[in-house]
Amino acid sequence: MVRFQGVAMRYANGPEVLKDVTFHLEAGSYHFLTGPSGAGKSSLLRLMYLAHRASRGTVKVFGHDIAATPRRLLPGLRRRVGVVFQDFRLLDHLSARDNVALTLRIAGVREDTIRAHVAELLSWVGLGDRLDATPATLSDGEKQRVAIARAVIGRPSLLLADEPTGSIDESQGMRILRLFEELNRIGTTVVVATHDQRLIARFNHRVLRLADGQFSVERPTSLSGI
């Protein structure tokens, strides 16, 4: 699904924010990605959702070596990745319905199909009565759920969530993570970036840990005491 081999990353000519990162995510797995603020969690996710290229090493997503993949093939790969951004990145002028529909419109899905699927999914995340609300009128929790709906509406093979519980209360955070578990059970590979160790401890999933640009993989049992 995702394979990193000796990957480093830097922004422009700055220092390396990731160094020699090597790991493999199997299809259908569920991982937490953790580490202190500034450890490079978001940067690692950026590499995984193809927003950035590695400065060295090999990044393979869905079997494609990203450095060697022609630009014209990237949209197709990106459509297989659902991303929940830390700051939601909703389009303020669009309704919740149109924000979620954007993923399908971009993929060229028919409008009648979009209408049915979007309404169904927004109802599923508890926003059936807020279809026409714009982000400005939504709470952070509601925005988060719109962002999640946008990320999963295209049935991605890989779901990446960057601090999805960072701006909402604990009960809503738990609800969202359970939603991700449901998606994982139907085959979606999930990576959730969070620095909340208490949250990680409540789930029995592998942990990718980043500290000072260095990387390690921990089994769930190693966190059982937290």
Partner: protein
Amino acid sequence: MVRRQFDLPFADDGSGRFLPWMIALMVYLASLATVAALTTREVVERWNAGLEGTATVEVGPAADDATTEVLVAQAIAVLRNTPGVAAADPVPADEIGRLLEPWLGPDAARENLPIPRLIDVRFDAHTNVDVAALSRALVTAVPSARFDSHGLWLDRLQALGDSVQLAALVIVVLIAIAAGATVVFATRAGLAVHAKLIELMHLIGSRDSYIARQFQFHAMSLALRGGVVGVLIGALTLGALTVMWRPIQQAVLPDLTIGASALVALALLPLLAAAIATLTARITVMRALKQMT
């Protein structure tokens, strides 16, 4: 589901706010240039058609009217005896008076002024007439006669028409280039304003062509709006000019009624502006996005 808006918030940014007004101004200027060119062409064609196969003989005034009439009769005899001349008829004095009225006033024909007499000549379309020989024969018979085949006049008129059309074409092309450049700047500004959203659209799988469509339809809509405004103002201007022109035209100038081809061209100008804007926006966006990851 009917889509009523763009995925990108074009309404919230100022990048395209001035575009309809710029396009309106350009279409306005283009409409004036186009109508000038097409109307000139129609006038030249009308004059060409009216004067083709004809000539005018001018007989200078003699000491008295009776002698002048004799000279006119001699000239008509020479003309009618020339093979290929289908008709040679004296222009009535009243008609000459009417032609001179703008310069000499309404009583010119009655004031015994030494006005030359004119003879309208019409050639047989199927016979080739040696105009130079005919001119020499006329002058031999009537020394005060002057043969005018209208050739020089028509050549100058044609040259004038061609020049006006060329100038109008150059103006329209320059306006189209300026319109294209305006769209390029507006589109680049829009790309800069919406860079973050464009990145987001890329990240959720958008192809460049999808994003380009957003910009090209936006540019098309603005250009069409501006184009319609420009052409309407152009039509009002031309209508006002036509009203002002009419009294002068009746006296000394040719009929400058705006023809059907000019009206069609006016109707097409907003569409042309929209097409230029659409194409330019698409090329600009596609080129810019290729530079992005």
